[in-house]
Amino acid sequence: MRLALYRDPVALVVGVLGLVLSVAAAVSTGDSPGVDGQVSLLVTVAFALSIVLGEWFQLSAPGFRGSAPIATAAALAFAFAVHVGPVELAFSTPYVLAVTSVSMALGAGARVLGGREVSLVETTGRFLAVAVAAVIYRNAHLGQSPGGPPHDDSLVPWERAMLMLAICLVALVADALFTSILRAMATADLRRPFVDEARSSFALSGAVAVTGVLVALALPTLGVMALPLFILPLVLTLFAFRRYVSIRATYLQSIRTLSRLTDAAGYTPSGHSERVAALAVRVGRQLGVSERDLLDLEYAALLHDIGQLALVEPIPGGATVLAAPADQRRIAADSVAIVRETGVFEGAARILEHQTTPYRQVRELGEEIPLTSRILKVVNAYEDLTAGARSARAREAAVERIYLGLGYEYDPRVVDALLGILGSHHD
């Protein structure tokens, strides 16, 4: 766990190193268009501006990898830009990387000053991708030396497009690898962060890479105007992304509202679902449940009692653990039906399905009950039995009741984890 603390400093060092090295290389090799290269300067300003703005308007949402699509697309195009209109640009890799890193730093700095969040890991990852692309295309492919002209590769446009797309792929893999190595320092497992990383950003990164390539391909025809024109669809997509985020927010809000319905209707003690959810997530984390499953567990816990709405008379104290097994199952079935109705919380519905199944069915019948369902069962029983009371006596009484069902009703491993958390909390 402690290694995670070093993640950001490592990224900071790599990022600053990239910034300093690229600027130093550009200065020492004299790789810059100078004041005469008016077109080159105009191009520089346009790209630098796009990168700064792109870094400012970042995308981030829970469960989504943070990214700056406009900055990445512009920077990739900058790495590939050789001709603008009829003019050949008079700079090479060090200059490109110096401009890119300075612009990214400016954008990130503006965000920090504006009080917004900046992920150093992701910003550095983006810079790394651009560096990889520029080195492969300019130095390896075009054989361009700093300050020197590019060699003519006599590729027809579609061949060039294929080449650039392939380079972008390599660059994006480098980015994902860098980010996941830094994340893996916390978990000591590289494969999973990398797969998660690649999966969560695949579609968006693809669109970004193609946009970068398209800008580079259109620069000789459209001149600098290629940049804003080809970026525009990406900008529109960012608005759609905002809509996407608000859709997810709507579902979350609806879960909170639904979880409060039973409180408002007087079926459960106030705040019961929230307490179960908070405790269940802690127990789940203790037992190594993945973040995605934890989210489902939280939703399931928030909604686990909603089936009680069907009862004519509330159960005393809303404690389902005291209800007859048949009633418990009916309440659970009603909860599942309501949660399924949303059509988007299938994970939570699956947890709720097994909410009431006694643990012995795992032992005796070999039935598969998800760990998250077993957690919910134990935590709900505990909360029902303490009824929100936090005194040591209420806790001991509840634990005693749970011990009576240990191994029959409840999974001993989950109960141990719960007791561990309760102990550390109170002692």
Partner: protein, 434 residues
Amino acid sequence: MTSRPEPDTSSRLLPYYITLVVTTSVVVGVASWVFGRHPDAGPLVLLVAMGVLSYVLREPDVTSRIGFSFLSIILLASGAILGPFGAWFVGLTSQAVERQRMEWFKRLFNVAMMALIGVAGATAYILCGGVSSLERVSGFSDLALRVGLPLMVADVVQCITNAVLVAGAVALSQPVPFWVFVRRILVSSGVAYIGYGIIGFLFVVLWYPAGLGAFSALLVMAPLLAARWAFVQFGEEQRSHERVVETLVTSLGTKEPPAVERSARVAQLAEWTAEELGLGPRQIATVTYAATLHEIGHLGVPTRLLRRAPGALTDSERRVVDRHSVMGARMIEGIDFLEEARSGVRHQGERYDGRGLPDGLAGADIPVAARVVAVVTALEAAMTEDPVGVHPSAELRRRLGSDTGRFDPAVLEAAWAALDKHGLPTGAGAVSAS
């Protein structure tokens, strides 16, 4: 990105409308072949394939009425690359591969409409001075003036053509006023429809001036798919709202099963009334949500009180039941898109003369959603308890009108007009707000 209607068979005028659209489309197609240029086979085949692909990849009906695809962008590019006949042909063939069964006349209408949209765009392009020999254009200013600008006009023309043709069919098959529907389409997707038209321009630039040829079709798929994703979000947003509202109604249904159907009937009546009042799309949605959820507060009322007949309640019990509007408004607090509908739930018991509950608001101070809910719940209750056939009797009209000061007279009038037009809702279809 293209709107398609799902016409009903209910109207007698509809077949004539479809015949008119189809005939126009055929005539225009023939004319474009005779007078316009003939497209090259290679680009034509490619664009037809992209058109078909866009239709196959379309978002399967977002609501019951409108579906999305990026066909409009393909049609726009076709207008510049192929000319009017080519664009007509791409529109005509776009629905060659059909995954789901659709009645033949709907399909015929859709095909004719797509072809017409294609021709309309291509014609606008030519009229605005768009060039047809794209190989010879070079330089940004030339491209902007002789390709970009004409394409922009063509884009707007396509969007309007689409909206008007669909609204025509809907206005004839379902009694939604024509302009309400045109506005609904333009507000919900018009900006994005026109904005993403830029991809059509970029497609053309890549194809000819940048020299990528047919390969540009492959590259441009990335922004097209991004556009599709963006459009799916429009639909998803609406669907998320409907799902949340439905889930809340289902929750209520577990406690009070008859409430589900009642809520659907009241919501339908409220939506019609709101349309009749000429409200905007957003307000219509607010009114409908408020009507759907008007009884959500029953969740907080003891079941034994809900099961008793209203006449059998004591005064104090009566008060408990009446508090449901306040409780309901509190329950749905915290869901952003229901924020406006919330006041409609809370104030449903207000009287137009200001002597109602809970806050004694009067006249225009009462949110319009609350005024509509008040009228339609009273109507629904009266008509369910005393079924009088499809149309309300004069007796009922007099009874509701006699309680002067209870209802907003304008809303009452609109509700009667809606009932005359549509009859009593059955409560079969659940929520339908847009």
